[in-house]
Every structure is written in structure tokens, then in C-alpha cells.
Symmetry: C2
């Protein structure tokens, strides 16, 4: 994506909103059409190009779903702060050891006790296409950021 | 759905988990395949049969999406309590004045200032088919409830 100055401000706003929300819900499409979500640790910021990275087991169910249908949604909710962020994009599995080394944080040990030496560990890269956020309680209209 | 005794316990657990989470994220499928989510007020408990009810504007974008593809996901996140709930189901628009009277709570005025006299107001009923929850920080495996 190309970043216009206005766009850069909006992205900054988005990164700021999710900064303190450690976990998000990642929604994927099952081959039967049903939608599944699960909490995921966002160990790192939203990249400047709007990408998100998650650690995953390559053999996990969500990876099957993503391979079958790339569309995903990532939502951040902090009800106590009245902050909601919804990201729409496409996901792909990336097995890049160097990238994993860069992105690894010790907190991830809770889900990956073997760290990046785990043979089945991989990254799920989400390329965000559209972002919406609500930062006031009565926000019936979302603010939209296109990518 | 038929409720076995064990099932009733699980449903009770689910209702208990979401009781204090006022807002959830409702994810729908866009006709172009992308997934969209937005915060929604769960004004009422999960019904004993697993149904959820939301108030919506009938002319809103989410209703278009639901009419095109019934599959939805409803996720509840309380990061401060390490509670996450994901419900998978199908949604349909219901225009039932009596039901609206039953379900209306004054807090909804924030999004529906005209209350149930609003000509465009309607209900979105979600029939839950599968529920998963995580209630411990390192809960890598979800507990699943089928409906
Ligand atoms: C905390 C919160 C709760 C909301 N609850 C509702 C709701 O119960 N019903 C509703 O239609 N919109 C609600 N909204 C607004 C929606 O998030 C959304 O912006 C609006 O319904 C339009 O969505 P759509 O264009 O995808 O249909 C709420 C917004 C916030 C921030």
C-alpha cells in the first residue's frame, strides 16, 4: 500500500488504539461456511504497511481454514476503554525463521513452550485491507481507513 | 436444539462468562468474501436455546451482509479477566414489535434515540450452532459446546 500523509496519521491512530490491547480475536471461514474466532496474542505492533503478524502452529485448524479461504477479520475490544477496532484482510502462512526471531517475545512461551525451535511453529501474516474503529461509546458510525 | 443435563451446565457457564461483557463483536461476510465486524450491544442474556438478539437498523450494511450470507460470528473479549467467548451461528432479521418491547433496554438509546418507535429498527436473531470459550490465560485449547 502507499501511505499518504493523512493515511499515516490514521494508521498512527490505529496503532495507538490497539497498543494496550494485548489479545485480539481472529475470525476465519470454515470450509462449511461457518465463521470461527479465537483469541490471539498480537505480540507486535501493526506494521507501517498495515500488516499484522501472529505466531501459530502450522498444523492448527485455523491454518487449514486460512489455506481454504484467505479472508480473515481481526478485532480488538477493550470494553473498559470503549475502544473497538475491526481489521479486514487476507492471511497467509509464512515460515521465515529470521522473521520469527525478530517477532518473538518471551510471553509467547505460554502457547509455544519450545519457542521458535518448535518444528511446527510458523507465522500467520495478515495483510489488512480495511480498518474501522470506534472510540466513543455512542459511535454508531465507524471511522474507516482503507489500505 | 435439545438440551442434555451436561449441556445445560455448559450453557450456564457460557451465560455466566458473557454476563458482565456488555459489548461483543459481530462478524459478517461481505458479498466480496471479506469479513466485517463491529461492536454490538448484547442487551439481553444468551437465551436458553442458545439464541442471541441484537437491535439493528434494518437498512444497515450488516443486514445486507446477513441477507446475502447468514453465517456470523459473535465474539466476547474481556482481556482484563482473560475471558474469551466465540459463538458461531446463523443470523436473520426479525421485525417483531412485541419481541422488541420485551428486549428493549434504555441503554440502547445511545444507538437508537427514537427507541422502538424508530421505523427502521429491527432485531437480528443469531441462532448459535457452536460455542467455544477460553477462561484461563494460557488456555490454548478451547472448550467447545455444540448446539
Ligand atoms: C459499544 C458500541 C455498541 C454498539 N451497539 C450497537 C447495537 O446494539 N446495534 C447497532 O445496530 N449498532 C451498534 N453500534 C454501532 C455499530 O458498531 C455499527 O457502527 C453500526 O451498527 C453500523 O454497522 P454496519 O454499517 O456494519 O451495519 C455500537 C457501537 C458501539 C461503539
Amino acid at each position: 500500500m502507499t501511505v499518504s500523509p493523512n493515511h499515516a496519521d490514521q494508521l498512527e491512530k490505529l496503532r495507538d488504539l490497539v497498543k494496550d490491547i494485548e489479545y485480539c480475536m481472529l475470525t476465519t471461514v470454515n470450509p462449511d461456511g461457518s465463521l470461527h474466532s479465537r483469541p490471539m496474542a498480537l505480540n507486535h505492533e501493526i506494521e507501517e504497511n498495515g500488516d499484522l503478524w501472529f505466531f501459530t502452529y502450522a498444523s492448527s485448524y485455523k491454518v487449514d481454514e486460512v489455506n481454504h479461504n484467505h479472508h480473515v477479520n481481526v478485532s480488538f475490544a477493550a470494553p473498559n476503554k470503549q475502544t473497538y477496532v475491526a481489521l479486514s484482510g487476507q492471511a497467509e502462512l509464512v515460515r521465515d525463521k529470521q522473521m520469527m526471531e525478530q517477532l518473538w517475545v518471551p510471553d509467547l512461551k505460554a502457547w509455544f513452550p519450545n519457542g521458535i525451535d518448535e518444528p511446527d511453529i510458523a507465522l500467520l501474516k495478515v495483510s489488512v485491507e480495511k480498518a474501522e474503529y470506534w472510540d466513543s461509546p455512542s459511535g454508531i458510525v465507524a471511522k474507516t481507513i482503507g489500505f
